[in-house]
């Protein structure tokens, strides 16, 4: 995998960037995909052309893909399965007073 920084000259491939777009309605930037670009400024411009052509967004973030540290898929069982039977962690055992609406 090519990443931002030193190895880009050796691989002769542009670094990879992850693109996040905030839509008109949404408050959060949402991950929409990735692209190759020479630097961050170009990545924003490329993201505009690749990911906002159909009025998807009003704000763009780009992050070098190699800056993201991800969990290991092989660790899925020990990382996430234990949460499956801990239903007491969901706040569903309280009776809400009638006066509290729209929770």
């Amino acid at each position: 995998m090519s990443g931002a920084g030193e190895d880009r000259m050796s691989t002769n491939e542009w670094p990879l960037w992850e693109v996040f777009i905030r839509s008109k309605q949404g408050l959060d930037h949402r991950h929409v995909g990735s692209l190759h670009a020479v630097d961050s400024a170009q990545a924003v411009r490329m993201a505009r052309d690749v990911y906002t052509r159909r009025m998807e967004g009003v704000s763009i973030w780009v992050v070098p893909s190699n800056s993201i540290t991800a969990s290991d898929p092989d660790d899925k069982a020990e990382m996430f399965d234990p949460a499956a039977d801990k239903i007491y962690r969901h706040p569903t055992f309280y009776v809400l007073p009638k006066e509290v609406e729209h929770m």
Binding site: W14, L35, H36, A37, V38, A41, Q42, R45, M46, D49, V50, R53
Partner: protein
């Protein structure tokens, strides 16, 4: 012909022909992301052309719509500036040894820089709050197009700087493209009787007064790109009067073949 119609044909044809040229890159761009970016620019230009040619057809009053004007006129009836029709490969005299591919991205980008910077000046003049075009439709088209052209200019300026201030080869190719294209910018600012009449009536604007701001904008990009501004020449191309280079016929043949072979074809 009415100076207003002539003016709209010039602006509309310029957008249409350059849009068609840039569309040739679709599927052949240097990288996927840039391929999409250039296709976006091409489609923006064709969108501008549709509005301008539709308006031209209405003012002409002869029943010609945008498709009639785009597909059923011959080269001599087209009024685009010659710079728009030049092939993406550049001109023969700027072809560099060892580069035989059909498209030269430096040439494509530098042309966009020169032309889109002019478009930005033009749209601004037509929407100038102190003295806008007296044609509400044209002023509206200019206002919409200004946002698009500003982005096209940014896109072209970005690449021009990367090419000019890049490797020895990218610099040489950008400079060669600039040297070849520079004389063709004269036509954008060389006013004739049509321009004078359109400006006189308050419909259009003169080209010559736009050059100072255009030169400042383009010059700043060239400086950052470490490219040398070519010497001005007396050459003036004549596309806007219908006298074109040999390249336009080939472009039109490809662009017009389908509607001419199947005049009633629809999607």
């Amino acid at each position: 012909m009415d100076a207003r119609v002539q003016t709209l044909l010039r602006l509309g044809d310029a957008a249409l022909i350059l849009g068609q040229r840039l569309g040739e890159w679709t599927g052949h761009g240097p990288v996927l992301e840039e391929d999409i970016a250039m296709a976006n620019v091409a489609l923006d230009l064709i969108g501008q052309a549709r509005l301008l040619l539709s308006h031209a057809g209405l003012l002409e009053g002869a029943g010609r719509d945008e498709d009639r004007l785009a597909y059923f006129r011959d080269a001599r009836e087209f009024r685009n500036f010659t710079i728009c029709e030049l092939p993406n490969s550049g001109l023969a005299n700027c072809a560099m040894r060892g580069h035989t591919q059909s498209g030269d991205y430096a040439f494509t980008i530098v042309r966009n820089l020169l032309f889109c910077a002019w478009q930005v000046q033009l749209w601004q003049a037509l929407t100038d709050s102190r003295n806008p075009s007296n044609d509400a439709q044209l002023a509206g088209i200019a206002a919409k197009s200004l946002k698009e052209s500003s982005y096209h200019l940014r896109h072209a300026a970005d690449w021009t700087v990367r090419f000019g201030d890049g490797t020895d080869e990218s610099h040489a190719r950008a400079q060669a493209a600039l040297d070849a294209l520079w004389p063709y910018t004269n036509e954008l600012f060389a006013d004739d009787a049509v321009d004078a009449a359109a400006a006189q009536s308050g419909f259009g604007v003169l080209g010559a007064p736009l050059r100072a701001a255009w030169l400042a904008q383009v010059g700043a990009v060239l400086e950052e790109a470490t490219l040398a501004q070519p010497r001005d020449s007396a050459f003036v191309s004549t596309g806007k009067s219908g006298l074109h280079s040999e390249h336009l016929d080939f472009l039109l043949a490809e662009m017009q073949v389908l509607p001419r072979a199947h005049p009633e074809a629809v999607w």
